[in-house]
Symmetry: C2
Subunit: 146 residues, 2 copies
């Protein structure tokens, strides 16, 4: 799969995306995620588990186990609708456990992108890994200032 340069830059610099999964019966689910793009794969950590998000967290993981097909949409909103834009990435997800050697590089990339992860124990948390399949985009990917 090939991202265009504009798509890649847009996805790399965005701070948040929304991940759509679906359970084995096809019921869709969506959550905002922080992520990094490394070697044509998207990585996002499973959250630490305050009680309040546990059910959502479990649903996301269970959906991926039942049905690994996912879509990540990265977009920006502006009141200047001529300046809207988005990138949709379809792919196949799995769970990368913390003890796998390939876990280190995406953890470093997440920390490089988000200072906030300095205080999170990402080393010990599984990641969702998304092997990208296809990309589609629309509108302005250069996020013009309004």
């Amino acid at each position: 799969m090939q991202l265009s340069e504009a798509q890649r830059r847009y996805v790399e610099t965005a701070r948040v995306g929304r991940l759509a999964t679906a359970d084995g019966d096809g019921r869709p689910h969506a959550v905002p995620i922080c992520y990094t793009l490394v070697d044509e794969q998207i990585y996002t950590p499973l959250d630490e588990k305050p009680q309040s998000v546990e059910a959502t967290e479990l649903r996301r993981v269970q959906n991926i186990r039942e049905n690994p097909r996912v879509t990540l949409v990265v977009d920006h909103y502006t009141e200047q609708w001529d300046n809207l834009g988005w990138v949709q990435l379809r792919g196949t997800a799995d769970i990368l456990s913390a003890n796998e050697p390939t876990h280190d590089e995406p953890v470093s990339a997440l920390r490089a992108k988000y200072d906030q992860y300095a205080s999170h124990e990402l080393e010990h948390r599984p990641l969702i890994r998304i092997e990208l399949g296809s990309a589609r985009s629309w509108g302005r990917l250069d996020r013009p200032a309004d």
Copy 2:
């Protein structure tokens, strides 16, 4: 279905949400949408059809016809992660054609919320209507200033 007052205010005032659908085979899809909340139902217009979005547009409608279950996630991102928050709304979608009498009220509500729709011929465009089933939320719904 009952939204709490905080959830309702959060959903009503947000300018954009992300709608997850899935096709008959359970492949999820997600797009940013503008929407309005009227009488426990979410309404979003089908886009006018510039060539570039037509395939996405068709997929969204086809997914809803194959599988009416959808999830709308409304969230805000901030670098102060203690201030993050979201509302997830699950529901059942259908397509409301422009000649139905119940089409008028959501069109007025969309115009009241978004000045941008003044120049769009919403009267002649179908709406996606989502009957809300359940709501879940997390984090700060008062969008504190950073």
